[in-house]
């Protein structure tokens, strides 16, 4: 993985010193909250319902054991013993004290971590496929390019006060596990006719109150031009993005209002000015960065899971293998997903002890590499197949052995009214109820892969628009209600879910989900027809009727 050189270290240390000084000036009263807000946001510090929240960047979701241990230490020392992994592959601490923040940041800097640009109207942490550099279906490991984008966007002086936040996602595989089409810019690797690898650039995707699937802006941008192209997009956005209304300030609105063709024209005209200039990425520079991401010393083997036998001898473990492992590019290896969605638990949370235990596994079994997925799970990317059983046992002992990845209880859930000042409704308790309802392994097995996503308000941090079933908290005359959507898809076939009808109360939600699932199970042509396929075959009507009757 990427390691800081002296340069990065100096950069981050400088940033810590700068923000520490700003905090001091805030505490002394020299800075007003209005003046402090954008500064703290750019350093990942939010003011939440009850306290400050510190969001720490995990660039493109990659960490080592020392970093995870440091996060455990911070959870233990400065917080209430846990951290929350987010859909942006970051980790949030919910209870730090303002005057502890400089200390936390300098401890993070010791392990090459920071909170720079995890919020604020700037270019946020770049996210990617959690299986990057490991997945069998990958065209290219996107992390070197993600790292280059991270460097380019770090404290970019021109793009620090954009109209609104800006999110970039990148994937090197044809199967999109990073929801790139729900990002301001989504990059997908592609091989052109000449066999060269470049990037298809999508623009203007996003969740929020105006969900949009990103549109294709350019089907092939070579490596060398990528930064120049990104800078062109950002400049057009910085200059012409709306600033009069914060709900219309994302780039998706600019693209919609200008029209894709005219937006493209503006980007191309800017690109024609900057292309070939100082931002061109030399091949040897790319190669230099690539060496940081060189594959570990794999010992290929022909080890494989004998699932048929396992299902008889060790059914629980077999289930873990089926759901929580992902095919690796190298023979004899697999990627293991650690579910942070225990039945009835808080999705995405991990305690300090759990983090320490995972850190040990990372070190022993995964070449000291860990990933955070945008679905709020952790991933050991490179585990020898022969070691998976040991990993599984250790996880079970730590309460992390849930074999539900991709299943109905593996939900993406935002913090909601329990933490978030913007929330209309709770999301965590709703998720916990659903999780209990569908908790049995047998039931989940029967249903198969089904993605439920829950947001506590229209800001859609829980990606409900992209859930096969989405749940959105709304508020009506003082009561918390939930709207149900179906048909969302965050994969390469990105689609936005449709609302089925009026909102229902929290108590009604588990039953409602149950009824939707029953419609699906009753109507699917076979166990291999997915929820989305059944839905598109039947249309929404039977689902709507199951919820509301015929009225």
């Amino acid at each position: 993985m990427y390691r800081y050189d002296q340069f990065d270290a100096r950069f981050v240390a400088g940033r810590v010193a700068q923000f520490s000084d700003q905090i001091e000036r805030r505490i002394s009263g020299e800075l007003s909250e209005d003046q402090f807000r954008p500064l703290r946001l750019m350093n990942g510090l939010y003011l939440q319902l009850h306290a400050y929240m510190l969001r720490v960047a995990v660039p493109y979701g990659t960490m080592n054991s020392a970093q995870l241990r440091k996060l455990a230490h911070i959870a233990r020392t400065y917080d209430r013993g846990y951290g929350h992994f987010t859909t942006r592959q970051n980790i949030q601490f919910n209870w730090p004290r303002l005057d502890d923040v400089p200390q936390i940041l300098s401890e993070l800097a010791e392990v090459e971590m920071h909170a720079i640009q995890t919020s604020g109207n700037c270019i946020r942490n770049v996210t990617t496929d959690q299986f990057a550099g490991a997945a069998a279906d990958e065209i290219i490991d996107p992390r070197p390019v993600a790292e280059i984008i991270r460097q380019w966007s770090s404290l970019h002086p021109e793009f620090t006060f954009l109209p609104r936040k800006f999110k970039i996602a990148i994937t090197g595989a044809a199967h999109d596990r990073a929801a790139i089409k729900f990002h301001d810019i989504g990059l997908m690797a592609r091989r052109n006719e000449a066999g060269e690898i470049g990037w298809t650039v999508h623009v203007g995707g996003g969740m929020g109150r105006t969900p949009m699937v990103a549109r294709k802006l350019n089907s092939f941008v070579p490596h060398a031009d990528l930064l120049a192209y990104l800078e062109s997009i950002l400049r057009v956005y910085n200059r012409y993005g709306r600033r009069d209304n914060k709900y219309k300030a994302r780039i998706k609105i600019l693209v919609r209002e200008e029209g894709l063709a005219s937006f493209r024209e503006q980007v191309e005209s800017e690109f024609s000015e900057v292309r070939g200039g100082v931002l061109s990425l030399p091949e040897d520079e790319l190669n230099r960065i690539k060496t940081y991401f060189a594959p570990p010393e794999f010992k290929d083997s022909d080890a494989r899971f004998d699932l048929a036998a396992l299902k008889v001898s060790d059914p629980e473990f077999a289930r873990f293998v089926v759901h929580n492992t992902h095919q690796h590019a190298r023979p004899g290896y697999t990627s293991v997903t650690i579910s942070l969605k225990p039945v009835g638990g808080v999705p995405g949370d991990a305690t300090d002890t759990q983090m320490d235990i995972v850190a040990d596994l990372v070190e022993r079994f995964s070449f000291d590499e860990l990933r955070v997925s945008h679905e709020q799970n952790l991933v050991l990317p490179h585990v020898a197949i022969g070691d998976v059983r040991s990993v599984y046992e250790a996880l079970c002992a730590a309460g992390l052995g849930e074999a539900n990845v991709g299943q109905i209880t593996d939900m993406i859930v935002c913090p909601g009214l329990d933490y978030c000042a913007l929330a209309n409704a709770r999301s965590i308790p709703v998720a916990q109820e659903i999780s209990k309802r569908f908790g049995s392994a047998k039931r989940q097995e029967e249903i198969g892969d089904l993605k439920i996503k829950i947001s506590g308000c229209i800001n859609a941090c829980g990606h409900h628009h992209g859930g096969h079933i989405g749940i959105l908290g709304v508020e009506k005359r003082g009561t918390e209600l939930y709207q149900i959507t179906v048909g969302g898809d965050a994969s390469e076939n990105a689609a936005i879910g449709n609302i089925l009808g009026r909102g229902i109360t929290g108590e009604e939600v588990p039953d409602a989900i149950e009824r939707l699932v029953e419609v699906y199970l009753g109507a699917r042509s076979g166990a291999d027809e997915s929820f989305l396929n059944t839905l598109s075959r039947l249309g929404e009507t039977p689902f709507r009727e199951a919820l509301y009757g015929n009225d």
Partner: protein, 433 residues
């Protein structure tokens, strides 16, 4: 001697040199550039660099006037010399105007006369000086001079510190309330310096000088001084009046010495007085001077602004497209980028386009919501001057704020170019001052 009304210069071509110099100057710096007695140096700077074709000398053709006019002739005998013909001068003075002009070779003496309507209304019997000398001076001196000076960016006076108590803080260069530069080459000269200069250069004296008139104005208001009195003691004798109005600012004080003026512009590592005024709607484009014209205004009257004779600035608002003035940049001595709120980042793009794409090299100032935490970002985008109102920001700049971050992760600006073997994106910050 011809009697003409002053007409403003329109020859834009002659401006070229001074403008670019002006774009880089700070008036504080000017005042520390010259030795106290280096009157010629001050004058040369003003005539040849600072206010090229935008400068006039105001002379009373009084007792000491020969000194300054002699120096002017040595540099440029064609420089406009404004003489206020109040109508109340001694005949000897009017004769001396001619003697001195001929002797020195002044080619451009312009006589300013009071408005006849005003005289008829307020001073029909020519005795206003008795009852209300301030108003008399106003009609006969201040108004004609103001009118004439509106065509100039600055003017030269012969005032000296030693003359009166109020003039004791005079410096070489001052900024007046209406943003003109007042040049006082003789600020630090005393009577002996003047006498010695006259002697060395064998300058003709004012006819009355020998008769005890050491400072000579209008006949009714000037009397001879006796030994031991100050040189100007004979002016408005018996009245609590020491200045005639042309050296007052609107508050009836002598315009403040620059050292005391408000220093709001930060550039080149320190605060200096801002020679640029606020843009006001109204004056014709040809009259615009030392103000930042809003971009839309400029574009709508491009030809007139381009032809205008005075130093001009441009105000780039947040939503403005700098591309529209790409070919006009050489006209501006200063460009101001407006940050209406510090969270509006459009100005960073405008700055980069001006500097990096269009090659603008002059003063690029941030105005509006300029706060210390944004200044390092602004600098990287090419902004080199800051108009600062926020007290804490001011303090930080005075203390020489340094960004804690001294390395860059991406190349921005014209001098952040790739350095050899380093990662192509990154380099140490070497312009953090």
């Amino acid at each position: 001697m011809e009697m003409i009304e002053h007409s403003s210069h329109t020859d834009a071509a002659r401006r070229a040199g001074g403008e670019s110099w002006l774009a880089a100057f700070g008036i504080m710096a000017l005042n520390s550039m010259f030795g106290q007695k280096d009157a010629s140096g001050v004058l040369r700077m003003a005539i040849e660099d600072l206010l090229v074709d935008d400068l006039a000398v105001v002379s009373s053709f009084g007792a000491d006037s020969a000194v300054l006019l002699h120096m002017v002739c040595a540099i440029n005998p064609d420089l406009p010399v404004l003489f206020l013909q109040t109508g109340r001068h001694f005949d000897q003075t009017l004769a001396y105007v001619k003697t001195l002009s001929d002797r020195l070779g002044l080619t451009n003496v312009q006589t300013l006369v009071p408005d006849s309507d005003q005289l008829a209304r307020f001073d029909p019997d020519a005795d206003l000086w008795k009852s209300d000398p301030d108003s008399c001076c106003h009609i006969r001196k201040t108004e004609p001079l103001d009118k004439a000076l509106s065509g100039f960016g600055g003017w030269v006076t012969g005032r000296k510190r030693h003359q009166t108590q109020e003039r004791g803080v005079l410096s070489h260069f001052e900024l007046t309330d209406d943003k003109r530069i007042k040049v006082n080459p003789l600020a630090y000269w005393d009577e002996e310096d003047v006498a010695a200069y006259k002697k060395v250069h064998n300058l003709p004296e004012h006819p009355l000088f020998g008769s005890g008139f050491t400072s000579i104005g209008c006949a009714p208001c000037t009397s001879a001084v006796t030994t031991g009195e100050g040189a100007r003691a004979g002016r408005w004798r018996g009245l609590n009046k020491t200045e005639c109005g042309i050296h007052f600012d609107v508050n009836k004080r002598i315009s403040p010495a620059m050292a005391k003026a408000e220093l709001t512009l930060f550039r080149d590592g320190r605060f200096v007085a801002d020679p640029w005024g606020k843009w006001v709607e109204g004056p014709a484009p040809s009259e615009a001077r030392y103000a930042h014209v809003p971009l839309a205004q400029f574009v709508a009257n491009r030809t007139a602004y381009l032809a205008g004779p005075h130093p001009l600035g441009l105000l780039v608002g947040a939503g403005d497209n700098v591309e529209e003035v790409a070919s006009d940049l050489s006209r501006f001595s200063s460009i101001a980028i407006e940050f209406r709120t510090f969270t509006d980042g459009r100005g960073y793009s405008s700055a980069r386009l001006l500097v990096e794409r269009m090659g603008y090299k002059g003063e690029l100032r941030a105005v509006g919501d300029v706060l210390v935490d944004q200044i390092p970002l602004m600098r990287r985008c090419g902004i080199n001057a800051f108009v600062v109102g926020h007290a804490a920001t001011r303090k930080a700049l005075e203390q020489g704020v340094q960004s804690a971050i001294d390395v860059f992760m991406q190349p921005v600006g014209v001098d952040e170019i790739p350095l050899g073997t380093r990662c192509f994106l990154r380099r140490a910050n070497h312009s953090n001052s």
